[in-house]
């Protein structure tokens, strides 16, 4: 862009190069404008209207945004979403990091174990939902069968308001294999001489973890935290397939309610307002994370 602004001082050759470059990226620019920028702008406009998709939108200003905060189901969706983000993201990070630490050690069948732990992250979502639906089944599920065999009454994993969110979070933890691979790569990038120096100084395993491993892997931790948080704000498929938002709205997450509003209740304007609110919250959360946790990360290159 600064090149464009300096066009008057550009040579003819530079201008030709600029236009040639723009020509080559024009398919991407056109696609980006048509399929990303335009829908984003349109959704902002629709968020200011009463729009049921089938009839022309009616401008109502900020009324959708105001009505959101009066909607008890919206407030419940927000609370559920915050619960999920604040719980699932750090837990997933811890589980993946712990697995990576274990699988970075010299173990027999290490490659096989790494594959086994990675597989859940590439299992199709609906297949995961079906498997876990059976594991959690109140009457015939694997978990309750084990509990019953030791004399404990069946637990309503997916039909209890208190337990449904933890039950869904466990499924997310089970699928931490992808994150584990990122941490594995980061762990293998830690120079061995740092561990050697620490051992010479008499550091224990925990001290090595705290003063060598974690700082050296911190950029990956920050990356996983931020992208995990963004993904957590988009959590939709598993609750949609497994619980449909129940019981009593306990697993109605923000994207699920957004989908219902836009595609079941004929309230696309309302759903657009929800989407923009989520976008703003995600951006703010990402900025806050970058400036707090991001500062803590150790970048050896600078």
């Amino acid at each position: 862009m600064s090149a464009l602004l300096r066009t008057r001082r550009m040579t003819a050759h530079n201008r030709r190069q600029l236009w040639t470059g723009l020509l080559f990226v024009s398919p991407w620019i056109i696609g980006f404008c048509a399929f990303t920028l335009y829908p984003i702008a349109a959704s902002f406009y629709y968020s200011l209207t009463l729009y049921d998709i089938l009839t022309p939108p009616r401008f109502i200003g900020m009324e959708n945004y105001v009505n959101l905060f009066k909607d008890a189901r919206f407030r419940q969706a927000v609370v559920n979403q915050i619960y999920y983000v604040v719980t699932a993201v750090p837990l997933s990070l811890l589980v993946a990091f712990a697995l990576a630490l274990l699988l970075n050690m010299k173990l027999r069948f290490r490659s096989g174990l790494r594959t086994i732990f990675f597989l859940p992250s590439i299992t199709p979502l609906v297949a995961s939902a079906l498997i876990w639906g059976w594991i959690y089944n109140s009457q015939y599920g694997l978990l309750n069968s084990v509990l019953n065999s030791v004399g404990i009454q069946s637990v309503a994993w997916l039909t209890s308001e208190t337990l449904v969110k933890p039950a869904l979070i466990v499924i997310s933890l089970w699928a931490s294999g992808g994150t584990m691979v990122i941490f594995l790569a980061a762990l293998q990038d830690v120079p061995q001489h740092l561990y050697d120096a620490a051992r010479i100084d008499g550091a224990s395993w925990l001290q090595e973890l705290r003063h060598v491993t974690v700082p050296m892997v911190s950029p990956a931790i920050v990356f996983v935290l931020i992208t995990g948080m963004i993904q957590a704000f988009n959590y939709f498929a598993l609750p949609w397939v497994m619980t449909q938002g129940g019981p009593a709205g306990a697993s109605t997450f923000y994207p699920l309610y957004l989908y219902q509003a836009g595609f079941q209740f004929f309230k696309m304007g309302y759903a657009s307002a929800m989407a923009w609110l989520m976008f703003l919250v995600t951006v703010i959360a990402a900025i806050v994370l970058f400036r707090t946790v991001g500062r803590w990360a150790y970048y050896g290159g600078k």
């Binding site: 992208t227 993904q231 050896g300």
Partner: protein, 478 residues
């Protein structure tokens, strides 16, 4: 990558611009943009599992079936269901139509997800010519369908008298008819009970409960709970089948002479004291057994009358359901189970029956409505009705078929047909209000809260009434 230093030809250290920090920031930025834009380029190795769009959770739509491929006129028909018997019924129907109409090609799509895909198709200007509808008024009120009065008045096949006023009400908006009752339409409420379970519990298998109090007593006698606290057999689930969500309003309102919506479909009355009483009745049944125990039971068995349902498997003794029950139980239920049919156990002054169901319509933007209407006409005939019934047990809503059809496939459907003739038709189904899908969803969640003691029935219905009336007023421009 990070920290590596290269040297120029003169041996001067040249700092590598791509440091670890730059790389991480760049990838993080790309991931952030990807997360904002959708999952197209989002890295897979992040947590939790990526959110997939709802379509990935739906069954796959099979390829369309085309008859009379080279005919001069064509009709694209979206049919909402896709079980083998339903798909077979639809295919045989359009083949029969094609035989009588060699100049019309029909492209049939079964399992067409009409509740999610039809609206975008209409908005995009590329709708099917004929669509199966679960509920016509929400679309009619939003100008998504063509009014059919002109075609209906001229039709020599579709006679208005062959349908009840309730059936027409369910497809009428602001005085115009936007769909034709068809595909699955007829008398839709009665009490069905499992004779074997009744006998096992010491009850007369030929006599169902006559009042709500008796229903509760039967429910307690028939329910079995094992030592681990699991419900093995449930007497009655007041949130199953036609007693659930929308069905609750219909049967409870009919039994208590309550109008829960105005004739023009623009005013709600869903917090009537009698309806509050009804929700409380549901909550009382749930609280006695424990809402989590019943939810756990439901976790193991499906609702309605599918092969995996508690009723079809002999794990539920009583159900409020409609005329399709005999056919569905025959198609997918346990063949050792025996059932009886009777009136709802309510102390209503006069017997009543609900009429209505699904319909066929021509979406706005259809290219050849006159030809499309011919297909709709065909599906209302006794011939098409017989094909549908012989495969699925569904009725097409036409009295002509009710009077002359053969019901050997599921003889027990005759109870509903006879009951329908003996009783007053009190309510239309589906409820002809443009926002009823939202009412239904919020009501289900609200009842969940009531049965778990989080709020009272009055509080829930008062809030629902206020919220939904406001939404209705806004959306209809009142």
């Amino acid at each position: 990558m990070a920290n590596e230093t290269t040297r120029t030809d003169e041996g001067v250290p040249e700092k590598n611009p791509l440091t670890r920090r730059t790389f991480i920031m760049g990838v993080g930025g790309a991931a952030f943009m990807a997360a904002c834009g959708g999952k197209a380029i989002a890295p897979k190795a992040t947590l939790p599992a990526a959110a997939a769009p709802a379509e990935e959770a739906q069954p796959t739509v099979p390829p369309p079936v085309v008859v009379n491929e080279n005919a001069s006129k064509s009709v694209a028909f979206w049919y909402g269901w896709n079980t083998p018997p339903q798909a077979k019924a639809a295919r045989e129907s359009i083949k029969a139509f094609a035989k009588d109409n060699p100049d019309i090609s029909v492209k049939l799509t079964t399992g067409a997800q009409v509740d999610t895909k039809l609206i975008p198709a209409i908005t995009a200007g590329n709708p099917p010519d004929v669509s199966h509808l679960f509920s016509a008024v929400p679309l009619a009120a939003r100008n998504a369908l063509m009014a059919l009065d002109e075609y209906l008045d001229a039709s020599e096949i579709i006679k208005a008298d062959n349908y009840t006023e309730a059936q027409w009400n369910a497809v009428t908006w602001e005085g115009k008819r936007y769909a034709v009752p068809s595909l699955e339409n007829g008398p839709r409420i009665g009490l069905i009970w499992n004779k074997g379970l009744f006998k096992k519990a010491g009850l007369d298998p030929e006599r169902g409960p006559a009042t709500l109090d008796e229903l509760l007593q039967y429910h307690e006698k028939l329910t079995e709970v094992d030592k681990n606290g699991n419900v093995r057999v449930i007497g009655f689930d007041p949130r199953d089948a036609m007693a659930s969500s929308e069905g609750f309003f219909q049967w409870w309102a009919s039994a208590n002479d309550v109008d829960y919506y105005s004739a023009d479909g623009k005013t709600l009355n869903i917090n009537d004291p009698k309806l509050i009483e009804g929700v409380q009745f549901v909550a009382d049944i749930y609280k006695k057994l424990g809402p989590e125990k019943i939810a756990g039971f439901r976790n193991s068995y499906g609702t309605w009358t599918g092969p995996d349902s508690s009723f079809a498997q002999g794990k539920q003794a009583m159900q409020i359901n409609g005329y399709w029950t005999p056919g569905e139980l025959k198609a997918g239920g346990d063949p050792n189970q025996k059932y009886a049919y009777g009136w709802l156990p309510v102390a209503s002054k006069e017997k009543f029956m609900l009429y209505g169901g699904h319909s066929m319509a021509i979406p706005r933007g259809a290219k050849d409505p006159a030809t499309a209407f011919k297909l709709i006409e065909f599906f209302t005939t006794a011939r098409a009705g017989q094909i549908m019934f012989d495969n699925t047990g569904f009725l097409n809503g036409n009295k002509e078929f009710f009077n002359q059809g053969s019901f050997r496939f599921a003889p027990d459907v005759k109870w509903f047909l006879t009951a329908g003739q003996e009783s007053k038709v009190k309510a239309a189904s589906p409820t002809p209000i443009p926002v009823f899908e939202e009412v239904r969803t919020r009501f289900e969640s609200g009842v969940d809260e009531v049965v778990r003691g989080k709020r009272t029935a009055k509080n829930m219905l008062d809030e629902l009434q206020s919220q939904m009336q406001k939404t209705l007023d806004e959306q209809m421009g009142s």
